[in-house]
């Protein structure tokens, strides 16, 4: 059966399959070129346009997002700068206030000190004056009393003589020098 089949196969009067038919070559070429024309004229440009559009859209979106981000960043920087400025300003104001307060305190203290010094000095001066007055009065009184007492004891008036000799004054001056340290 195999043999007969082979014989049959060989016996067939079929043309060679690799001999192209001219009609088919022409038809194939024309059909192909027609299809190529349709695709390159009507199909490919549409797809390419679509791709371009799509790319642009995506790129545009990305660019827009980038711009928005940049803007936000700029705003953030601005806010930060403003905040820093405000902080610096407040610190400066606080420092100023502190310095001013210090100055005012200093001035007040100086004023108070001056005032107290003045009051003390005035008091002292007054005291000094009173004391001087009292001392003078006492001195006069004491001299007179002493002379009177002496006169009474002696029995006669020593006033003139005592005045003459300045005895009382001298005594009192001596007394002064002796009692001066005690007074202070």
């Amino acid at each position: 059966m195999v043999k007969s089949a082979a014989v049959l196969f060989l016996a067939e009067d079929a043309p060679s399959p690799v001999m192209p038919h001219i009609a088919e070559v022409i038809l194939g070429l024309v059909a192909f070129l027609l299809l190529l024309f349709v695709i390159s004229k009507f199909v490919a440009p549409k797809f390419e346009a679509l791709y371009t559009e799509r790319t642009e859209k995506i790129q545009g979106g990305i660019e827009k997002a980038e711009a928005a981000q940049k803007e936000a960043e700029a705003a953030l920087q601005q806010y930060k700068a403003q905040l820093a400025e405000a902080r610096a300003e407040s610190a400066r104001i606080r420092d100023d206030a502190r310095a001013e307060a210090e100055q005012i305190k200093e001035e007040l203290r100086a004023q108070a000190q001056a005032e107290s010094a003045r009051i003390v000095a005035q008091g002292q001066a007054q005291l000094q004056a009173q004391r001087a007055q009292i001392v003078a009065e006492l001195r006069a009184e004491l001299g007179r009393q002493a002379v009177e007492l002496a006169g009474r004891i002696v029995g006669e008036s020593l006033e003139d003589e005592a005045r003459r000799r300045g005895t009382v004054d001298r005594f009192l001056a001596d007394l002064d020098t002796v009692s001066a340290p005690a007074k202070r």
């Binding site: 059966m1 049959l8 060679s16 690799v18 088919e24 194939g28 059909a31 349709v38 695709i39 199909v43």
Partner: protein, 260 residues
């Protein structure tokens, strides 16, 4: 085809070359010719309808068309020709791919069941009359006449003595063999594939009708093989279309390459 088997009586007539020479339908028009014309109608209709209203966000059909277009554009044309020059060749590569693909797939589509590319005239026409002139034309245009001859036949980097051998081989390959092998590759694959399907299908039929009683069920095995082979054929048909477009793009890319 069953007619042939029946005509032979109880002798099995194996399918052969004669099965590729179908009688004309009318005048001189044969089935492959009708299918060929149908193929360009199918492809044109597919792309024209799907690309009628393209949107940024694709619909389902647009997505399908875009996938095919992208495959031809990015996976074949851009890969082989390079992103600098591939744009003008996208329509050609896409046409080659879809054209060969549809004509191959005819082989497994019920009723049609004839891969048009198994008729040598068709692949020969597009390989020798379209791809061949195109890649040499762009090569001559890019490098000048002498420049392109040198570019094509004297690949740099070989020792001088080798060129006595290499240059004739390169010349033969670039100017004679490439287009012919391009056509033969798809033709032979389709021819052989169709023949295999015929053998298993007709063999099963013969076994069922004419074999001795106990052998009749063996026809099921034959048909099972026919079905398995159909799946294999589907793969080969797509693969051959891809290879055809890929090699065409590769030839164009090599002709355009600055140095290789």
């Amino acid at each position: 085809m069953g007619r042939l088997v029946l005509a032979e009586g109880d002798k099995f007539a194996p399918p052969g070359v004669k099965d590729f020479f179908l009688p004309p339908i009318f005048g001189d028009v044969t089935k492959p010719m009708v299918l060929m014309v149908l193929s360009i109608v199918i492809i044109s209709a597919f792309f024209l309808i799907t690309s009628r209203n393209l949107k940024i966000v694709p619909t389902r059909w647009q997505f399908a068309a875009e996938s095919v277009y992208d495959f031809g554009r990015n996976n074949i044309a851009r890969e082989q020709i390079g992103s600098k020059d591939f744009k003008p060749f996208v329509p050609l590569i896409l046409t080659l791919f879809t054209f060969v693909l549809v004509n191959n797939l005819y082989g497994i589509i019920p009723i049609i069941q004839f891969p048009t590319m198994a008729r040598f005239g068709f692949p020969l026409a597009i390989a020798v009359l379209v791809v061949y002139p195109v890649y040499h034309y762009v090569g001559f245009k890019r490098h000048g006449f002498v420049g392109y001859l040198k570019h094509a036949t004297v690949p740099p980097g070989a020792p001088t003595a080798i060129y006595f051998l290499l240059t004739p081989i390169e010349f033969l390959q670039k100017f004679v063999l490439n287009p012919v092998t391009l056509a033969i590759r798809v033709f032979a694959a389709m021819f052989a594939g169709h023949l295999i399907l015929l053998v298993f299908t007709l063999g099963g039929e013969y076994l069922l009708l004419h074999a001795a009683g106990p052998l009749k069920p063996v026809s099921l095995v034959s048909w099972a093989f026919a079905i398995a082979m159909t799946f294999l054929e589907a793969f080969i048909q797509v693969l051959q279309a891809y290879i055809f477009a890929l090699l065409s793009a590769n030839y164009i890319g090599m002709a355009l390459a600055e140095d290789h």
